[in-house]
């Protein structure tokens, strides 16, 4: 077994075990830690196929910024102590997640199996094959840079614009409107919570009626 295959398998174990950990861990912070493990493993996989730049960006952007933001939200909202991950907030969320995950997996496998016909591109294994004027192989980083800033410069700029729009959107949403605070728009989660509270209330009322206690006072408790 060559070292390349060995590294690939090792990183694969890291990725898959991390992914399972994200789903199964009960504490949100632990789940985020497993997510970092997965992202790091994916970075190693990128290194194995000589995509050095992608590997670095994977760690810098995903592990270094995005999961940090997840952790920020988890810590500042105190979700890790208050929320119980075993309770399903929206009914039917888990079956829906399983169906969607399965569908995505199928789609991914279909793309891999027929990459030429679906994406129109040729899948590349190992180092890219461009050479410089002297015939020496160029590093992947340089080839990627050339490709981004020549052939795909429009797509690249449009992506930048999209991100700017997203930032402006976030600023507008986070802006405080002068005057009294408006109530938040109702979501499906609110509806399910209210339904649950009502059900609990009516149950309490029934219990109270059974016990012969005044319904109103039981409701206040």
């Amino acid at each position: 077994m060559s070292l390349q295959v060995f590294t690939f398998l090792l990183a694969g174990v890291i990725v898959v075990s991390g992914a399972i950990g994200v789903v199964l861990s009960k504490n949100p912070v632990h789940a985020a830690l497993f997510l970092i493990q997965t992202l790091f493993g994916v970075a190693v996989e990128f290194l194995v196929v000589e995509a050095h730049f992608l590997a670095a960006i994977q760690v810098i952007v995903y592990a270094g910024a995005i999961v940090i933001l997840f952790l920020f939200v988890i810590m500042l909202l105190g979700v890790d102590r208050a929320e119980d991950m075993r309770v399903e907030p929206i009914i039917g969320q888990r079956p829906a997640a399983i169906v969607t995950g399965g569908a995505l997996l199928g789609l991914l496998l279909a793309v891999i199996a027929s990459s030429d016909s679906l994406t129109g591109g040729r899948s590349q294994k190992g180092a890219l094959d461009a050479t410089d004027q002297l015939g020496a192989p160029l590093p992947n980083v340089n080839q990627l840079a050339e490709s981004i800033f020549t052939d795909y410069v429009f797509a690249f700029e449009v992506t930048g614009l999209l991100l700017t729009v997203a930032v402006v959107g976030a600023v507008v949403m986070a802006r405080r409107i002068p005057g009294a605070l408006q109530p938040l728009p109702r979501t499906a989660l609110d509806a399910s919570r209210e339904a649950a509270a009502e059900a609990a209330l009516s149950e309490a009322a029934e219990d109270a009626a059974d016990d012969g206690v005044d319904v109103d006072s039981a409701g206040e408790v």
Binding site: S2, L3, V29, L47, I60, A65, I68, D80, A127
Partner: protein, 414 residues
Amino acid sequence: MMLAQQEYLDDFTWFDGTWKTLWLGEDIVFLVLKVVLVFAMLLVSVMLMVWFERKVVSDLQNRIGPNVAGPWGILQTLADGIKLFFKEDLTPDQSDRFVFKLAPYLSLIPAFLMFSIVPIGGDFTNGDGSVEIAGQTTFLQLVDPPMGILLFLAMSGLGIYGVMLAGWASGSKYPLLGAVRASAQMVSYEAALGLSLAAVFLTSGSLSTNQIVQSQTDGAFFVGGWNVFSLGFIPFVVFLIAGTAELNRPPFDLVEAEQELVGGFHTEYSSLRFSLFFLAEFMNVVTMAAIIVTLFFGGPHGPILTDTLGGVWPILWFFLKVLVFLFIFVWFRATLPRLRYDQLMDLGWKLLIPFSLGWFLILASIQVGRDEGWNLFVVVGVGIVGMGLGAALLLGAIRTARLSRSESEIVEYS
């Protein structure tokens, strides 16, 4: 011999072609030796750095400082280390035990890995920085991957987790506040750090640290090729400030502001786990100084005396330059008062990031102008006018925002 070497290489064809220095060109034993050497060098430098910092700060404050352990107190760190070893190892009741124990390693390992890309020697004046030791041609750095300096950014990004998880896992509020402050600060300043790095990439045309050092040595007279001069000081100054903030060192040490947060994220740590944080922190200081030297001051390239003494001079030059920056970090600590949190964020987001972005754009347009043969004065003039307009817009926006905010606050509190 040659044949045996070839067979051996065939077994270890990992990254064939591009990542030559890691496996193909070098013996595994040789590589392991390098790893051990870098490891030992970092540990010793941390030991000396702690002593150096305490000694210099005490000099600047008219004190004597550590003077008991060893000559001039140079073994003080060793004594402290032994003391930390024998202290009781506490685990708070409220803590998340596994994460609490994991966190120190999460900040230590990136600190180690970061140094692996720094070239500490080699003749860059007449060659490409490679040296020959025992029949092996090698660079005097652990690895020279094509992603080069991005490894530094990635590792400093991962180092945040150690701090953040330490604060969270302690299960008490001051560490948590310290951790949230630390990670917000490090994430914000990473942007400024990356932007000033981009200016370096622009002139060197490569991410590899070896190439960056090489690009600073060819052609120019004396030290004129060093990036600190050829990029016009601004990226260097931004990098120095952002780097100090990234290290959580004074004047940006509000992460562990004693008056407010006891000890910050490591309040609940003691004994060996605390010493691991301490080690990582000082290792990062040494690494940051080394990275600054590599990026902006030509690494091991010296102005004079480059090829006497058989390759020792570049190494001496490198350590001399690193020492200057270590002194500057200590000097900052002894001189500057700590920033307030809002001042810190204002400096990062409203000054350093726009400034380094603007400077980067000007450098890029000069580069394009040179390639296309445009008149340099026109390019620079248009660039400066454009930057002026951008700055005016930004300042106007900040002013308007401040005015409307204070108005709404008046409405609210009246």
